[in-house]
Assembly symmetry: C2
Homo-oligomer: 464 residues x 2
């Protein structure tokens, strides 16, 4: 059996007109009009359904087909008929229809609107709905766009490890990975757990970032990027946090803060343009039914020059509007989502990089500016969402980095290999992190991270 | 500063000849010839070094540069001079050279051969060697080739979850993921650990395969693939096993065993051809210094029709040669690496799919053949390595699948969502798994998985 996909037929309608093809898919609706019937078939190759027309006098098992339940899978052989006057540009006139797998009257996805909350309880079936079909296709297309963007520019894709034995960044929010028996773990004489008997011979966790490892490879390949899962054991039940999510972390040698911002801006525009071009039906769907005006907003972002403003200047602007905020702004404070959105949505009305934050609210590895109080960091804020990307130039000067590590009460010996990069051919370098789910939410208008992950993992929830 | 990469110069030599450019990179060697010097500069953009010539009467800090240690990073501005008669096709005649970051006399990568064992102790620096530069670039190119292969064919990339609460496949070899305090875990009245207080409200592990989840999405999108990390807590210290590795798991609806084999064969050939084309210098290096004859072997594979032989016929062939094997073959036994390599290297001398294995040595989800004793599984064996891919047609018949689950002492209720796929529009489908590190070993000739992973995780080892 040579199978033709619905995507192929729609992509090349003129060539398929009049041709006999075999398509396989699942019935979204079946209508029995006595002497003929309609079958809306979706095969997952594209957002659109194929309308199959089957006539009593042509399809010998007409009655069997007309009685089938929604969700049934079919193999249909028929002729593609172009219908330029009709709502859909073509339909399939069936010659034979075979039931591949029946469905039942209690199929959970009957033809009606279901709440996203209900659909989260049937995550194995929800990709068969319009919404999730569109979300997960956009997710796939965006992921590939990211790979193409970096590969075309000579970046090397690096798979940084997920299991880590270094407690570098806040072990409190990390998941522990173990093969010890929790009911009866081996103990040292002092009563503490004897991790020398654990799988890795020491305590191990799931990583929260591949950045430090990625820097190892940037110092050899120049430009690298990670694209893999990361984990946070944060006990926060919000629409924007999941325990498991994917991150993109590019790292560039011989690059400064401006190089990071240039690359990140190009990347965002590239992702938007690629998804717009490859998923027009999906984007129309989102813009009509999920988030009105989404397409216009994204098109605006893709064609805007992003603003760059220092934290200090941004704070001056925000302070003048402190009456509008729950949290009042002053120099030294971390910006809240309300401030970020005000900057990008009201003040500048396009994406904004806020640069040069106070060192005390940023990570130890960010490069100290000459003023001694700010670091070469930049967050990218976008309308409708706030922070999309965080990044910085990295501290490449050994002494300053060691000082900063000590200042924060950490032990430089724990960072011996990270410091080695500053001992042997150190160089100016910069990088950033993009949370992939946040990007997918931005592209689709979907406002809950649980609805852009295939099987989301959150507090109290690891079903499927 | 506009930075030009060494890759760009070598890719477009004629255009760059006579041009002034600025390149940034690390010194592999520095030679002081009194009135002039040679600097072999590698910037990671390609395998090759750029030879920089600097003359005492042209570069004002000649003495400083000539004294620099190997590993120093430089910014060099100079003129590209084409040298068609020389060993290397071009060199850079320096006008200015700036030390970006110095190195030291004890830089661990002096110009000499280092053992791979030693280099594993400096994993943060080893990508600066020829071997690991080549390995990790091929790894990146192969990863992207896999994405392109599937995306071009309309497969949807799905990110199946890594944290799982289902014990489906041999929890004994899984890592446990927890936020409980191992020194003092909460207990139930009967003394067992109270997992209701753990992060996910139940016991959770790291996945060993995304296949079952991928099937959920194949039943909506038709064709999908995963490409992500998987984990095995196997306490085995071999050259081919790591605790963390990446897998590709495509899953295809309305597809049978032959469709899987066709796709897998096309995929392997595509990966080989892409890497050969995009990494010629790296492949020449491997073929000369790592595994003599590698390129010829890969070219042979890329241009061969893979053999397909049933397990039953393969056993007949092997039994006739039982005197050659440590483990004697008879129908029903699992094939060992010695048997697999004998089939692919001696008997057929090309890649072989062995099909239709006894059901008792294969997984519960594989489709039962009409003979009642074999399943529609196929392993792909390749010369030099043995098994590269395992896959099967999946059991799409509800009753047979439920029976098999019970037969193996498992509980169908634990598989409610997996069984739902057989209740609602079930269809013939097939899929396979490719261990990505094994593929990289196959492409490079490197024979230890620790040398194709960036920072390998194995028993007793989670450094970096």
């Amino acid at each position: 059996m040579k199978r033709t996909t619905v995507a192929q037929i729609f992509a090349d309608q003129a060539a398929f007109g009049g041709q006999t093809v075999t398509v396989c898919g699942w019935a979204r609706t079946i209508r029995d009009m006595k002497t003929f019937g309609f079958l809306e078939l979706n095969d997952g190759s594209c957002f659109r359904n194929l309308q199959v027309v089957f006539a009593d006098n042509e399809v010998e098992n007409f009655k069997e087909i007309a009685k089938c339940n929604v969700g049934t899978s079919f193999v249909v052989t028929g002729t593609v008929v172009l219908t330029p006057e009709a709502k859909q540009p073509l339909e399939l006139k069936a010659q034979t229809i075979t039931v591949e797998g029946p469905s039942t009257p209690d199929y959970p996805l009957q033809k009606k609107r279901h709440s996203v909350e209900y659909l989260r309880t049937i995550q194995h079936l929800r990709p068969r709905t319009n919404l999730f079909s569109a979300v997960f296709r956009v997710r796939s297309v965006a992921a590939h766009a990211i790979h193409c963007f970096f590969q075309d520019r000579g970046f090397v894709y690096v798979h940084t490890p997920l299991i880590t034995a270094s407690d570098c960044e806040g072990a409190g929010e990390m998941f522990q990975v173990t093969t010890l028996d929790l009911a009866n773990p081996p103990k040292n004489e002092d009563g503490s757990v004897d991790y020398s008997q654990d799988f890795f011979g020491k305590r191990a966790n799931l990583t929260v970032s591949g950045q430090l490892n990625a820097e190892n490879f940037a110092m050899a390949f120049g430009n690298v990027y990670t694209f893999g899962p990361t984990f946070r054991a944060e006990n926060s039940n919000t629409q924007r946090h999941a325990a498991e999510f994917w991150m993109i972390e590019p790292e560039m040698a011989f690059a400064d803060l401006n190089d990071y911002m240039d690359t990140a801006e190009d990347m965002i525009k590239y992702i938007i343009r690629t998804v717009m071009e490859k998923c027009p039906d999906e984007m129309n769907f989102f813009s009509s039914f999920v988030d009105k005006g989404l397409k216009e907003r994204l098109e605006h972002v893709a064609s805007s020059d992003f603003v760059r403003v220092t934290y200090t200047d941004a704070v001056e602007i925000l302070k003048k509007n402190n009456d509008k905020f729950d949290y009042k702004v002053e120099w030294g404070c971390d910006l809240q989502t309300e401030h970020e959105r005000y900057l990008t949505e009201v003040v500048f009305q396009k994406p904004v990089f806020v640069t040069d934050y106070p060192k005390d609210i940023k990570a130890f590895y960010m490069r100290l500016n000459d003023d001694g109080k700010t670091v070469a960091a930049a967050d990218c804020l976008v309308p409708g969402i706030g922070e999309l990307i965080g990044g910085s130039q990295r501290e490449e000067r050994l002494e300053l980095l060691e000082n900063r590590i000590r200042e924060l009460g950490m032990n430089p010996e724990d960072y011996w290999w990270y410091l080695d990069l500053r001992r042997y051919g150190s160089c100016k370098h910069a990088g950033y992190g993009l949370g992939f789910e946040r990007m997918v939410m931005y592209l689709t208008g979907v406002n809950n991270i649980r609805d852009v992950e295939l099987h989301p993992r959150t507090v109290g929830n690891a079903e499927f």
